[in-house]
């Protein structure tokens, strides 16, 4: 979600509006946005031009620890991330195909959110191609309704009822 916003990814108008609404609420201190520190790896360009150093500072300055919180990786986050990967691993089907293993980054994000007990986990990731495990439809895919059978974590792809006016061609 951070990448989508900061890179202005081409998404539908309803998705863009949903992100803007969440951020507008955050700006007004009406919600708390939290993310794993690994978001830095997923968002910051690998080679940022020297004249754009202020952009990295602007991104890092977002995390005020109160309404926008970057969460460090602890032993317990890794412990739960391992459990999540083991839980949703699927061996390759008989007759060929791909084994399914959750991406470690996804597992760390889910573990972080589950431990903190957030209201909702926001992601666009929902592909089950090759080795991938979908996130938005994880529970449906796995045939369960709680993360690891223990954590009430709502996983959603935020989408608004209507789009943004500036996205209408």
């Amino acid at each position: 979600m951070f990448y989508e916003h900061l890179n202005r990814e081409p998404v539908t108008a309803t998705k863009r509006r949903a992100v803007r609404e969440l951020l507008a609420e955050n700006k007004a201190k009406k919600n708390i946005i939290t993310t794993s520190v690994i978001t830095d790896l997923e968002v910051l360009p690998e080679k940022l031009a020297p004249e754009h150093a202020d952009k990295e500072a602007a991104y890092r300055g977002q995390f005020d620890g109160v309404h926008m919180v970057s969460v460090e990786i602890s032993s317990n986050v890794l412990m739960l991330a391992r459990e999540i990967r083991g839980r949703y691993y699927r061996p390759p089907p008989e007759g060929g195909g791909y084994a399914k293993m959750m991406d470690l980054g996804d597992a760390i994000h889910l573990a972080t959110a589950a431990l903190l007990g957030v209201d909702a986990f926001h992601t666009r990731d929902d592909t089950d191609e090759k080795t991938k495990i979908p996130l938005v439809s994880l529970y449906e895919w796995a045939g369960e309704d709680r993360l690891c059978g223990r954590y009430d974590l709502k996983i959603v792809s935020p989408e608004s009822d209507q789009g943004e006016l500036d996205d209408i061609p």
């Binding site: 916003h5 803007r20 939290t34 690998e46 977002q62 602890s74 032993s75 431990l115 903190l116």
Partner: protein, 164 residues
């Protein structure tokens, strides 16, 4: 008992069952046994409270600094995070005695030795090394849409992490 287990099953013992609406029977074979054991193990794991990391780790906690107290000479305060535990007990070093008051009721990041116990995934105590105030951003993320537009998506390869 061993002899009983070794005996072949009786002819009239249950070998399969049908579920209403399903044409194929569920057969009591090796695969069924493995699946049943797997489901049972999952249920057991879900019903037991996880045992978290117990020990000490270098790290940081963030939140609002409250309940500054040195009545017992233990140089104590708590950090109240936005999410997670209700509060985290912290102890500041002697040389911070005159300065720590400036951080009261402010958003802070406290770095130091974090003590964990097996009953909670969050640190129960911090022996502070350093403390800093966290300022509000000059420009909110809402206003930074497209900040990195034009840059390629970073390629992050997590696949080898945790794989030994």
């Amino acid at each position: 008992m061993i002899a009983g287990l070794a005996r072949p099953p009786k002819e009239d013992a249950y070998k399969r069952f049908w579920i209403n609406g399903a044409a194929d029977p569920v057969v009591f074979n090796e695969d069924f046994g493995a699946s049943a054991r797997s489901v049972a193990a999952r249920r057991r794991a879900e019903s037991v409270e996880p045992e978290w990391f117990s020990g000490v780790s270098q790290g940081a906690v963030t939140g609002e600094l409250k309940a500054l107290d040195d009545l017992q000479g233990d140089r104590r305060f708590v950090v109240v995070p936005s999410l997670g535990p209700e509060q985290i007990e912290c102890h500041f070093p002697e040389h911070m005695r005159d300065k720590i008051g400036a951080y009261a009721f402010k958003a802070v990041r406290v770095t130091g030795l974090l003590t964990y116990s097996s009953g909670s995934p969050f640190p129960m105590k911090v022996d502070m090394h350093d403390i800093e105030r966290i300022a509000e951003p000059a420009k909110h993320l809402f206003d930074l849409e497209g900040l990195f537009a034009g840059y390629a998506k970073p390629e992050v390869d997590y696949t080898t992490w945790l794989n030994g």
